[in-house]
Amino acid sequence: MSFENPSTGALKADHISKAFGGLKVFNDVSFTLQPGGLLGVIGPNGAGKTTMINIISGRLRLSSGEVTLGGTRVDGRPVYENTSRGLVRSFQQTATFHGYTIEDNLLSALRFSKSDLSILERLMPLLDQFGLKANWGRNAEILPYGLQKMLGLTMALAARPKMLLLDEPAAGLEKSERDNIDTYVRFAREEFGCGVLLVEHDMELIKRLCPSIIVLDGGRLIAEGAPAEVLSYPHVINAYLGGADENEEDADAQHS
């Protein structure tokens, strides 16, 4: 699948493998995310999902294979460089700067990504809807977890992504707050026209949003296709019921 027409702006993982010492975190995984597309990534804990985001964003080096964005190699490049290329990631945990107000957090995000204030204007409807505008001058760390998380995600949009890598955006959110993720993903695609790689555990969310998904288990790509279909495959169901080591995913999800 790696020799299709070179579509500009597509994110391609080409036979990527990553091993920590002797431990293979994933092995020979390939997929393509078209510009403006939406691809869900699911898999049990420890399947290598966060590691994959760390690799695509440039934080970790590949053992073999390559990841390209519009034909330009992005794996192994500095994270800030990939961000300026339009490849922006979010974090599983809250990703805000403590001691900064909501406003300062957003202004910092604009400054670091060299975006101007017009981006903030474009984000306003989202900020309003999430209730962040109502808390404009309050410090990020005293906000409820759900709000902190939405702030971190909105800050990622301030970096003007072309491809957005979302690492379990709904993790830690209350059921009632999860609609925010739908709104967020829709907004990102409509307002910024960006492609979204959505790593998520919430199957309902995946089914609602993603036209197609890939399933990782034990570092291998075991299925791909439409969610309803893929989730009915016996070996996918097995992978979920089989259970995996939870600590592994938690350990590589750490970023601070």
């Binding site: 800030y80 300026s84 922006v88 945990q93 805000t96 700067f97 670091f112």
Partner: protein, 288 residues
């Protein structure tokens, strides 16, 4: 009562010195993720540069302090950009490299100036007194200079864009980087700022305390202690902790005598760390 106030003034002036040292140390840790074992070396170097400028070159003391600031900041910049940068992602290597650099600095000073303490005394003598309260003019000037320097650091860190960048990096480097910040661009600047602070402290303080090639050891120990007490990487924590350390040291030295001051300090820090392992202002790591 007068003795109590006098001791308090000494404690505050010690606290202001420790603040400058600790701010530099904590900035380097917070921003670069490096424990700078050469920190004491820059303090000693600042002292010797100021000494050389006044005694050999005949400069006024105030100018000598500025030269010491510039020299230590420039050396810090070069050391970070040329040496430390190459191993910055390897924690053990940064420990070895900074420690090695400290040994090089201390030995170089030893070779040039000899092992004995030079005659380096503060240009202003005399003691201000009110009733039974005594405070040497030298300490007063050093205190004022330190407070000005602390204010400048706070202004830089909290009121300028470069400071906001440094704080964001100290808060969460991965997030700052994911938002597009070229994190390493600020490393030499932050390192130079920190070593310059150590150097200027050395230039201000060694004429009052003592100047010898090895005084960097104790400086490093106190910087480390203060920063751990305040919470690694925390700017406000380092400031508060520095004044606590200064006051405890002063009162314990007067009322308990001699080495019991240091003993009290280390015992207290041990207790605080048992109760609050992240230090007084250390940030809890939040998890989902």
């Amino acid at each position: 009562m007068e003795g109590f106030i006098t001791t308090g003034l000494i404690g505050i002036s010690l606290g202001s010195q420790y603040t400058l040292l600790a701010l530099g140390f904590t900035l380097i840790f917070g921003i670069l993720g490096v424990v700078n074992f050469a920190h004491g070396g820059f303090y000693v170097m600042g002292g010797y540069v100021a000494y050389y400028c006044t005694s050999t070159l005949g400069m006024p003391y105030a100018v000598a302090v500025l030269v010491a600031l510039a020299a230590t900041a420039i050396l810090g910049w070069l050391f970070e950009a040329i040496v430390l940068e190459r191993v910055i992602d390897d924690h053990q290597a940064t420990l070895m490299v900074t420690m090695g650099f400290y040994l090089v600095m201390a030995t170089t000073i030893l070779m040039i100036f000899g092992a004995e303490s030079p005659q380096f005394s503060f240009p202003v003598s005399g003691v201000w007194r009110m009733g039974g309260v005594y405070f040497p003019y030298a300490n007063m000037i050093v205190l004022a200079a330190c407070l000005v320097a602390i204010a400048l650091v706070y202004w830089l860190v909290y009121r300028t864009n470069i400071g906001r960048g440094m704080r964001a990096m100290a808060e969460d480097r991965a997030v700052a980087s994911a938002l597009g910040m070229r994190t390493k661009a600020l490393f030499p600047f932050a390192f130079a700022l920190a070593t310059g602070l150590a150097g200027v402290t050395g230039a201000l303080v060694t004429p009052i305390l003592s100047l010898a090639p090895h005084v960097g050891d104790a400086t490093l120990a106190y910087s480390f202690l203060t920063v751990i007490l305040g919470g690694l990487g925390s700017v406000s924590g380092a400031t508060v902790a520095a004044f606590i350390v200064g006051l405890i040291e002063a009162y314990a030295a007067v009322y308990l005598g001699g080495s019991k001051g240091a003993l009290t300090l280390f015992a207290l820090v041990m207790v605080i760390l048992v109760v609050r392992p992240r230090g007084l202002f250390g940030r809890e790591v939040r998890r989902s």
